[in-house]
């Protein structure tokens, strides 16, 4: 019998490996019930009838979820059982809300572009991406050998939207490429590449970054030449901010790097240095760029300029109108808010599902992030630790930045709400992140291989030498 304190101290070593796939399946059915009944309620709320395509839609969602489950069961039997159901629940709720906005927009304008069916297709493609990742990457540690490839890929992906001809500017941000009629946000994939690059790079450099340096006041400052990478990343983030006008991604990339630097080196001084650089960059950005000032003013005093900050104000009205229990699916007016199906899906959900529903959604995100960190804690190799912690932080930061933005907690920046918002790039990227976390988690939760040498008859052992 160990004391509770002792149990916590030995969380990693005392971890009992269990597959828990049955638990995952059960949770998955709960998640599907949420998604499919939301879809049915959207029909009941808007047109007083269960949608006629509920079977196709519900069947599709169930099939996709079951495929993911089977793939996990086969390729990652020890993976965390909570993350996949949480993601399926969010994806289902997002689909229902996108359909709900579609119905309202269709009622107002019969020519309006509809998103829900497309999002279902994107979901299918995302699950395909998830399955492919699970099948191809059987051991996450092999990704470490692609560290610099990933770094380069990230840079290329970030630069792509700036390339004339394929890059397009939408709503002021130059973060899109258009190829063969399809728009894509390469930044979403770049996010994964960057996480892989950071993790691989820092695993190698952590000792040098951690041990060399001098103490100033109370913080251990790194050596000047070790500051190189963080300064480079800072410049890349500023570049994203300046050339692509993408405040959210800039913050996300830089935050991710600083946080991983801290995890790798275990030195809080990196947080101080990163925080100072962020503050300096943010302040310089505020002084230099009109669109940053606009965002900050819209955050502080939205009601002074009703037309200019119409979106954020309507988001607030929507939240207030939803109140504690919400208007119910199809009973609110979320379509008044511009981009209610993508950036502002958070306030749309707050309006129709109320404070209760929105808090539940935030908690589901919290659960995913917590499971990501748990994976990092349990994981035995440093690369896996860094990668899963990084991916968890990326989700947490993105959720905070976008939901905080639309609810006027922080200045509004353009980021998608993971798994909820309409958008193929974001959905595919986030499902791949899910696959990576599950892959690491499967590895981390597996029983430790018995490395003790067998006691006797070692003569009969056949040793394979590659």
């Amino acid at each position: 019998m160990s004391s509770p304190v002792g149990a916590r101290r030995h969380l990693v070593s005392s971890f009992v490996p269990r597959k828990r796939r049955g638990a995952e399946l059960f949770l998955l059915f709960l998640a599907l019930a949420v998604g499919v009944s939301s879809y049915a309620l959207v029909g009941l709320g808007t047109e007083d009838a269960v949608p006629t395509d509920i079977l196709e839609y519900g069947g599709g969602l169930v099939a996709l979820a079951l495929v993911s489950h089977v793939v996990v069961r086969v390729t990652a039997p020890y993976a965390d059982p909570v993350i996949l159901p949480a993601v399926v629940a969010l994806n289902g709720i997002g689909l229902a809300m996108i359909r709900r906005i579609d119905i309202a927009r269709h009622a107002a304008d019969h020519g309006a572009h509809l998103y829900a069916t497309q999002q279902l297709v994107w979901t299918a493609l995302s699950v395909a991406g998830f399955v492919a990742t699970m099948l191809v990457i059987r051991d996450h540690r092999r990704l470490q050998s692609f560290t610099y490839t990933m770094g380069l890929a990230a840079l290329v992906l970030l630069i792509l939207p700036l390339v004339p001809g394929i890059g397009v500017q939408i709503n002021g941000a130059r973060i899109w490429i258009r190829l063969a009629g399809l728009s894509f946000q390469p930044g979403e994939i770049a996010k994964i590449c960057l996480a892989l690059f950071f993790a691989g790079y820092l695993v190698v450099k952590r000792d040098a970054l951690a041990l060399a340096g001098r103490r100033f006041l109370v913080v251990d400052l790194p050596r000047g030449r070790d500051l190189g990478p963080i300064l480079a990343m800072w410049l890349v983030s500023l570049g994203v901010l300046v050339f692509q006008r993408d405040l959210g991604s800039s913050l996300l990339f830089f935050g991710l790097f600083v946080v991983l630097l801290y995890v790798a080196t275990e030195r809080a001084s990196w947080l101080v240095v990163g925080g100072l650089l962020f503050t300096a960059g943010a302040y310089a950005g505020y002084l230099s760029f009109g669109h940053v000032q606009t965002r900050v003013n819209g955050w502080l005093h939205p009601y002074d300029h009703y037309q200019q900050y119409y979106q954020i104000i309507q988001g607030q009205y929507g939240l207030a109108y939803g109140g504690i229990i919400g208007r119910g699916w199809g009973e609110g007016s979320p379509q008044i808010t511009p981009y209610a199906w993508s950036d502002f899906i958070g306030t749309s959900l707050g309006e129709e599902l109320g404070l209760t529903g929105l808090m539940a959604i935030i908690l589901i995100y919290g659960l995913i992030v917590e499971r990501g960190f748990r994976t990092a804690l349990v994981c035995r190799d440093p690369f896996g630790k860094l990668l899963s912690a990084g991916l968890a932080v990326a989700i947490a930061l993105q959720v905070f930045v976008v939901l905080g933005g639309v609810t006027d907690l922080i200045p509004l920046t353009g980021l998608t709400t993971p798994f909820l918002s309409y958008g193929g790039s974001s959905l595919i990227a986030n499902w791949i992140i899910l696959a990576l976390i599950l892959r690491i988690s499967d590895h981390a939760r597996q029983p430790v291989p018995d490395l003790r040498l067998p006691a006797a008859d070692d003569e009969t052992q056949v040793v394979k030498l590659r």
Binding site: A320, Y321, G323, L363
Partner: protein
């Protein structure tokens, strides 16, 4: 690396806690303000598409919601818009609400806690909750008479009429002229509503202003009732001799207070009754000096001055200034200087005298009913203040009867009925024509109605403007309508 990961997990916990805290703040604490924001179309549209309860006068709905074939489902309609607009106000999906539509909004919209059971039934039946109805105290005949009276004056008239039930404080008539058509603001046609709103809010006539309660004017000689009440309450009798003559030298200055038309009020010493009958400025200015500013202010406040009389309608507080010097006291005693009263306030003065000295709190909502006609609330008359003793009230009544029978208020006479009244002609500024006032009640021996009539401006030559001449007949017509003569 586990320690920083744990730290990070706590950091992320803080971020999520901030998100949760913020949505609680917006959706619970800030929600009320946000929903009440005039620009918030969500809350307004929800209210617009609800079946709002009717506003009733007598047995008729003067405001009700009829099914409309647009997305908002119900359209507010006003059946006699110009006549009742000053009381009902408007209900607009764009511009909000005013007057009774505003003050009774919770009942009319159905959101009142007393309609909770109805809402639950509606929720179970998947029906939008229906609003309750509001019955006004207005007497339709008196309202018509008041409106006709103002309309009959020549030219573009600005004025107001208020009639009260002296026993209860119930408002029997309330008319403000010029009036407006709330249907034009209530319409779902946004561009038409916007146009009407702009025209109304910029019109120099201030058509949406309820002059009966929301504007204050110098009450002029009608205020002599308050001064007389103060005198009678402080040892004077109707027969007490007071100063008459053509002029009163104002202390601390070289100014002299004169009478209208330079008369001498019938002598250098006249009775208090005579002073009121001929509306003698010299007598009341002198009385004001003798009684003092504090006594006058106290008496005015006991009639309701310096206090908001009603919360069901937009109202202005009638004023009697404090801490004034002697010349100002003399002017205040005849309802000039900084004394200002709404027509409702002057009707309350008449009603207080009629009700043996007790001023009742005025109200315009008689009953609130649920959609199934259960009475939710009935008005309960309340005494606002004890203005004078009943014997002083009796003396004042007799003096006011003399005013109508033999003084400045001849035009307010009703054949076969004894009418008590007091006229007033108040100067605002040299450039503007004077305000014509008439206050009174009838029958004098058993008062059923007290009125105040104010003509702010009308198409009559300046020299022809007198309270009795312009406002007197209207007061008589309104009183006749109430007492069925």
């Amino acid at each position: 690396m586990n320690k920083p990961i744990r730290t990070l997990a706590i950091g992320c916990l803080v971020l999520f806690a901030l998100l949760l805290f913020n949505v609680n703040y917006v959706q619970v604490f800030k929600a009320g303000d946000l929903n009440a924001d005039a620009r918030n179309t969500r809350a307004r549209n929800a209210e617009c598409s609800r079946e709002r309860g009717p506003i009733l006068v007598g047995g008729n709905a003067v405001a009700r919601s009829l099914p409309s074939d647009d997305s908002l489902k119900f359209q507010r309609k006003y059946s006699q818009p110009l006549l009742y607009a000053p009381v009902t106000g408007f209900f607009s999906c764009i511009y909000g609400t005013s007057q009774v539509e505003n003050s009774q909004n919770s009942i009319l919209s159905g959101s009142d806690s007393r309609l909770f059971v109805n809402r639950i039934i509606g929720l179970v039946g998947n029906n939008q909750p229906q609003g309750g109805s509001v019955l006004l105290t207005i007497n339709p005949k008196a309202q018509q008479a008041a409106s006709h009276g103002l309309d009959a004056l020549p030219g573009a008239t600005r004025g107001a009429v208020v009639a009260l039930d002296p026993d209860t404080g119930a408002i029997l008539a309330m008319v403000s002229s010029p009036s407006y058509d709330p249907n034009r603001i209530a319409t779902h046609d946004v561009s038409a509503a916007t146009k009407s709103w702009k025209a109304l809010s910029t019109s120099p006539d201030k058509k949406m202003l309820n002059r009966a309660t929301a504007e204050i004017y110098p009450p002029g000689s009608t205020f002599k009732l308050v001064t007389a009440a103060a005198a009678l309450s402080n040892g004077y009798t109707p027969q007490t001799m007071v100063k008459g003559g053509t002029g009163l030298d104002l202390p601390q200055s070289t100014d002299v207070l004169h009478n209208e038309n330079g008369s001498d009020c019938g002598g250098n010493q006249i009775t208090l009754t005579q002073a009121l009958v001929v509306s003698c400025n010299v007598s009341f200015g002198d009385l004001g000096l003798k009684l003092g500013a504090t006594t006058l202010q106290d008496q005015a406040e006991r009639f309701g001055f310096n206090e908001d009389p009603i919360n069901e309608l937009t109202s202005a507080t009638s004023q009697f200034p404090s801490g004034i010097d002697e010349p100002s006291t003399a002017l205040s005693a005849i309802g000039q200087f900084d004394v200002a009263a709404s027509p409702l306030q002057m009707a309350m003065v008449a009603a207080g005298i009629a009700n043996a000295g007790d001023v009742m709190r005025p109200y315009v909502v008689q009953e609130m009913r649920s959609p199934d006609l259960t009475v939710l609330n009935k008005a309960e008359p309340q005494v606002l203040a004890h203005a004078v003793s009943s014997s002083v009230a009796d003396d004042l009544t007799q003096m006011m009867v003399d005013v109508v029978d033999a003084g400045t208020g001849l035009q307010a006479q009703i054949p076969g009925v004894s009418v008590a009244g007091k006229t007033g002609t108040a100067n605002s500024s040299a450039a503007k024509s004077p305000y014509a006032w008439m206050v009174g009640f009838a029958p004098a021996d058993d008062p059923q109605v007290a009125v105040a009539v104010l003509i702010e401006r009308t198409g009559v030559a300046r020299s022809d403007i007198t309270g009795g001449g312009l406002a007197g007949p209207i007061a008589a017509d309104v009183m006749k309508a109430v007492i069925n003569r």
